[in-house]
Symmetry: C2
Subunit: 211 residues, 2 copies
């Protein structure tokens, strides 16, 4: 039955029924399509065809296209969170780690532009409130890093939620403008803008002179 020792899971099994985890397979194929060909190339028909499944099989697992896009977005937020936490911990959980976190954020957006648009472009349906919220979880990683720095007296004692929204806004803004090519026209490269922005950001939220 479980012939788990063959080639690394090709496409399109000849089985009549796609037994097992069709839901997962649908999300995976949708993510691949979005990453490789962009949002507008993502049609439900193409996804089904590529999985060797009927066009309507999808509706057993998702209410509509928006729900599928919601799952694609959720997948993106999980990857993003891992990248953020990874950078923060690899660079020492201090100022340097925080800058690395910001850079990792922008890099994620530039490395996965279409996926990032699905996450923030208003296509995806809001997640089921009953389920874990991957977007909130990614955001929480940022809040945690700020609180940790506050406890060490490295960051201003403002409400962490406010600080986190401030930081998120900045990196999200840089990422979006870079994706839109609004930075590109002869101007400085995204990495330079990111570094400058994070530098100025920190000088605005670090503990320092009162004003």
């Amino acid at each position: 039955m479980a012939a788990s020792r063959r080639a690394p899971a090709r496409r399109k099994r000849p089985d009549a029924y796609h037994h097992g985890d069709l839901r997962r397979a649908l999300v995976g194929e949708a993510v691949r399509t979005v990453e490789a060909q962009g949002i507008e190339a993502l049609t439900l028909r193409a996804v089904a065809l590529r999985l060797g499944v009927s066009r309507t099989a999808l509706y057993r697992h998702f209410a509509d296209k928006g729900a599928l896009l919601g799952a694609v977005a959720a997948e993106g937020f999980r990857t993003l969170r891992a990248a953020l936490v990874g950078a923060w911990e690899a660079e020492g959980r201090g100022r340097k780690g925080f800058v690395a976190m910001g850079e990792a954020y922008v890099r994620f957006a530039l490395d996965h532009p279409s996926h990032y648009r699905v996450m923030f472009g208003g296509f995806a349906l809001p997640p089921d409130p009953a389920l874990a919220d991957p977007a909130g979880s990614a955001f929480q990683a940022l809040v945690d890093a700020l609180v940790e720095q506050q406890e060490r007296g490295e960051v201003r004692d403002d409400p962490p939620l406010m600080l986190a929204l401030h930081v998120w806004s900045l990196v999200h803004g840089v990422a979006m403008l870079a994706l839109d090519g609004q930075l590109g026209a002869g101007g400085p490269p995204p990495s330079a803008v990111t570094q400058f922005a994070l530098e100025r950001l920190l000088s605005g939220i670090e503990v320092g002179v009162k004003r």
Copy 2:
């Protein structure tokens, strides 16, 4: 001929040909539709129908739907620029005026969410390089305000382009997150986030202690 003294330009003239400025009319109707019903409600067929014109008349003026969306976006950038310059001048071209400018930016996005998405969502085609670039023109208003403050010694002597991208990223990020409802869930209102962000931003770019 020019019966310019009738009712304020109803819809759907009974004329066989839509003489005059069909291009303008198309953009206007598209903007109205986007503002009132959202992006996904904007179909070329509906726009044509509402103007009492054939479905294909549009192709005499625009290459495709993306080009029409480009014109819609351009219209948005012109309005945005006017709002920014208005706030800057009305509040005294100083720190207060600059904060007002930032608030005006976020307010524009919140007042015209769908239009704003057209401007930044990657739907619109890039503008004809030969034509004036309304997005660049709106951005220039920001650069000008920063240079003016630098000349008065109120803002750090960093490259104005860099500073402007930094500021734009921040307000754009706040606007996008608010539009996505990512700020909404029990958190502080967008106006509070905007004010906090601008406060911290200024403390990061104003002339002050070296660090």
